[in-house]
């Protein structure tokens, strides 16, 4: 026992550089939002009905669930007249464990009323540049032997263009062949955010459970992701505010989940009701642990948290 105990002490002691850096990052981010008149909110981590999504499974807690993101509660606050809100909270997703995944992770999520997705992309860029600058990262950052320039403006590319540029098939072909995720992982993600951070946007409408559909292009949703060094850091969109449409999408997701024998969720009725009064808004969720991986120059998420599930 003595031997394994000292191993665990050693694995914690090894984090003497990274834990202060993590604390500094969170303080720096919080500082940005407070300075820009955002209200910091706390919403319950344990909730009765998560947003039904086809590929995200919540961890049960008694007859409720641990949140997979604070999205529904934060949008209820938006609907109730809180126009600029942010939250740094723990989120939980079942069966997600890998070099870049922890089943319990830290998410920064924020919403702005009257913003569209391009405005929140720009705000995300400003926030990160400011927060990192306050920590002493001025222009460049080195991650896994790559120099990534943080200077504005960051790259923006549509999903369709990224497929043309990097993939052996077009976006339409990938969707028809049911290969979208595989192509993203093998051909596109590794090439995003290499020289400077990249926003990839206008996701296929089918892959955006809670995002607004583009008016001029009904097959695309106003959804985006941020990548740095091939690592996915954030997901955001112009929020869908049509309650009927949202209910329809939830129904479809519930159906797809039932086929996989995933947990049944009750329809989040209070959220759907609130959606009727929600102003046009945009929101974004950013993985703090992933951002820490960039700052700590590591390709393993285990390196940036004090404890992983395995060493508890």
């Amino acid at each position: 026992m003595a031997e394994s105990l000292s191993d665990y002490n050693f694995s914690l002691a090894r984090k003497s550089q990274v834990l202060p850096l993590r604390a500094k990052l969170i303080q720096s981010i919080r500082h940005f939002f407070v300075k820009n008149n955002f209200l910091e909110v706390e919403t319950p981590i344990r909730i009765p009905s998560p947003a039904p999504e086809e590929h995200i499974e919540a961890i049960p807690s008694d007859d409720w669930f641990l949140q997979t993101s604070p999205e529904l509660c934060m949008k209820r606050l938006l609907s109730a007249g809180f126009p600029q809100i942010f939250q740094i909270s723990k989120c939980f997703r079942a069966a997600e464990r890998g070099n870049q995944h922890l089943p319990e992770f830290t998410m920064l999520e924020w919403y702005v009323a009257q913003f569209d997705y391009h405005q929140i992309m720009d705000q995300c860029e400003t926030m990160l540049i400011t927060a990192l600058k306050n920590m002493g990262h001025d222009q460049d950052i080195t991650w896994q032997n790559r120099k990534i320039c943080l200077a504005s403006p960051w790259e923006k590319i549509t999903i369709a263009d990224a497929f043309l540029k990097y993939a052996p098939v077009t976006l339409e072909e990938a969707l028809v062949q049911d290969k979208f995720d595989e192509i993203m992982v093998e051909y596109i993600e590794p090439r995003l955010g290499i020289d400077h951070p990249t926003f990839i946007y206008d996701y296929p409408a089918k892959l955006a459970a809670l995002a607004k559909i583009k008016k001029c292009e009904p097959t695309a949703a106003e959804r985006f992701e941020l990548y740095i060094g091939g690592l996915e850091l954030a997901n955001g969109f112009s929020e869908l505010t049509d309650a009927n449409e949202q209910r329809q999408r939830f129904k479809e997701a519930l159906k797809a989940r039932a086929i996989k024998n995933w947990a049944h969720y009750e329809m989040p009725e209070k959220f759907l009701q609130a959606l009727q009064t929600m102003p046009p808004s945009s929101g974004i969720a950013l993985g703090i642990d992933r951002l820490m991986m960039i700052l700590a120059d590591t390709d393993k998420i285990d390196d940036v948290v004090a404890f992983t599930p395995e060493n508890l």
Binding site: E53, E54, H55, I56, A95, E96, R97, G98, N99, Q100, H101, F180, D181, E182, M184, V185, E186, E189, L207, A208, A209, E225, E232, N235
Partner: protein, 187 residues
Amino acid sequence: MYTASDLRKGLRVKIDNEPYIITEFNFVKPGKGQALYRTKLKNMINGNQFERTFRSVDNFETADLREKKMQYLYKEGDKYCFMDNENYEQVYLTETQADDAKNFLIDNIEVEILLFEDKPIGISLPNFVELIVTEAEPWAKGDTAAGSTKPVKVQTGYTILVPTFVTEGEKIRIDTRTGEYLTRVKG
């Protein structure tokens, strides 16, 4: 039977009726997309490697693999002949299957033969073997630089780098996992 979520480095599975070992593994999940399992696989019969991405619905048969103690007898053409110590049956491996282990096979050495569905497909050697140096340049006087090495040939025909003081006829210990010289053996 395994599902994709059971996959991990070192796991052996059966794909298209052949045994594979997972040499690299990572769980990935593109934003809001489905869980994917990226692997590098090595065919345990022919050594071919490739990358493959699986979905969580994919599943795999377990590969029927076991090891059995056998004695190396001799080489015949490009085949290596071993004898099962229990039933005295003889089995053969090709050069490719013998892989790096062939550098350390001396007569009568006891090895573990890897069997896939009872067919021999590979060798696992003991971690250390002792072999006699059969060809070595004499130690050049004056060459006293610490750490300098020279190539010598051992009785299996394998060429290995050893310290310059090792001479012909001496026995040396070799780590079969790295193929490197460890020490001289007195005796």
